[in-house]
């Protein structure tokens, strides 16, 4: 990919995202009952989606590092986790705004997705704290990888098991039924998926930039 094509694609991505931003405000609000504030939907869902994607990438490289013990695999796991945590914070904030708009309350523990986003925040906050507490690079990688793998099963527990055993707590009379969102018109769905696409590309762009930077640092240190 010559640098010219690369620049063009990057600029194209920005135009695409600008379009998403523009139309997410100019078109009618995706949810009539809530009105204007429901536009946050175009940004909150991609954030939550990227949190999961980033932590999945981190988990994969944690497993890979335990086998290869290559420093670069460890950095890939760490870097993906750091980006994931950034998106996790964004998703938690936009999620609570979304909840305020939808249910009139900033935080609602009985909403499984809110619980699992918060749980991810706790797990990876602990993961980063653990890594900060270990000076030896190899041991830091190994223990960090072990912890993120060990913590993983708790996430599906909260997403799949919890909602079933907590039906009573879930406010059935919520103003908006979650899956109602996706029965939106073609226009809303188009903007949403383009937004999802843009954010995913941005994530992988930041991710590969970070990994390339670290690889250069390693090669520089070697020579």
């Amino acid at each position: 990919m010559t640098s010219m094509v690369r620049k063009a694609l990057q600029f194209g991505l920005f135009l695409l995202l600008a379009g998403v931003i523009w139309f997410s405000f100019s078109t009618p609000a995706p949810q009539q009952q809530i009105g204007q504030a429901s536009r946050i939907f175009y940004y909150h869902i991609p954030m939550a989606w990227l949190t999961v994607v980033a932590y999945a990438v981190s988990l994969i490289f944690s497993i890979k590092f335990l086998r290869t013990k290559r420093e670069l695999d460890d950095y890939r796991a760490l870097w993906a986790a750091e980006i994931g945590t950034m998106f996790c914070v964004l998703a938690t904030i936009s999620g609570s705004l979304f909840a305020k708009v939808t249910w009139g309350v900033y935080w609602n523990w009985s909403e499984p997705r809110m619980l699992s986003i918060f749980l991810l925040l706790l797990i990876y906050g602990a993961y980063l704290a653990l890594r900060a507490a270990i000076p030896n690079p190899e041991r830091r990688g190994i223990l960090g990888a072990v912890y993120s793998i060990f913590a993983f099963p708790t996430v599906p527990f909260f997403i799949f098991v919890m909602p079933r055993i907590m039906p009573s707590l879930h406010p059935t009379n919520s103003v908006v039924n979650q899956n109602l969102k996706f029965t939106m018109g073609l226009e809303v769905r188009l903007i949403f998926f383009v937004s999802l696409f843009c954010f995913t590309v941005i994530f992988f762009w930041i991710y590969f930039l970070g990994v390339k930077l670290h690889r250069l640092k390693l090669e520089h240190a070697e020579s």
């Binding site: 749980l119 602990a126 507490a133 223990l143 072990v146 060990f150 099963p153």
Partner: protein, 227 residues
């Protein structure tokens, strides 16, 4: 070499017996554990004695006391090995799985002891009526085993970190959330008289949780121990 299977259990018990004997002589974990549990219990019961508490509050209180008390002692069994540098000697004498099993059983016994002492006191001090004791005891036992099962590996991780402080509690809490939810749910169901049926879901969850966590711990422990 003696046959592998019987030797394995025999060696794991050797590790367990060694830890129990050392603990009885020093009593670090025992003191920390029981002092923590009793002081919290007394403070809670003293301040909340008058308020007739709803059952779900009592269930949550019980497990909060057990959780924080266990955070003060469950990592000790590995931290001792690292700090006194006996871990390096042990590496030359036993397989990681043998060591993990011995330490896991030790933590389970420690927690069962804690529950054995705290539960009657909790029932008396908080004036809790236990409709049918059997499911109540089962939920507590399963909760204790799950708690020990999930935190033993984390204790091994924390022991290898140089800066420890509250790291053990910070690392353990998110992983223990499912256990706490199930244990509190189960205790709540039993205390409000629903008995086995009410607590059935939670009991299944507790069993699944303990099995999964211990299975993963056995696989991952090698990396931590040789890390």
């Amino acid at each position: 070499m003696s046959s592998k299977s019987s030797g394995w259990v025999n060696k794991a018990t050797a590790v367990l017996v060694k830890d129990i004997r050392t603990e009885l002589r020093t009593r670090y974990s025992l003191n920390a554990l029981f002092m923590f549990a009793f002081t919290t219990l007394v403070v809670v019961s003293f301040s909340l004695r008058q308020a007739a508490l709803k059952v779900d509050i009592l269930a949550a209180l019980y497990w909060i006391i057990i959780f924080f008390a266990s955070m003060s002692a469950l990592a000790g069994v590995f931290i001792k090995e690292e700090d006194t540098k006996t871990a390096q000697t042990l590496k030359l004498y036993a397989k990681p799985s043998v060591i993990y099993t011995g330490k896991l059983v030790y933590n389970i016994i420690l927690l069962l002891l804690l529950c054995l002492l705290v539960t009657p006191l909790f029932v008396i001090l908080m004036d809790v009526s236990v409709p049918d004791p059997l499911p109540f005891v089962v939920v507590i036992l399963l909760g204790a085993i799950g708690l020990a099962g999930a935190t033993t590996l984390i204790g091994a991780i924390v022991a290898k970190a140089n800066v420890r402080g509250a790291l053990f509690a910070v690392l353990s809490f998110p992983i223990l959330l499912p256990l706490l939810v199930a244990a509190i749910g189960g205790t709540n169901a039993v205390l409000s008289g629903d008995g086995w049926i009410g607590a059935e879901n939670d009991i299944k969850l507790l069993i699944a949780y303990a099995v999964i966590m211990i299975a993963i711990s056995v696989v991952l422990f090698d990396f931590v121990w040789n890390g």
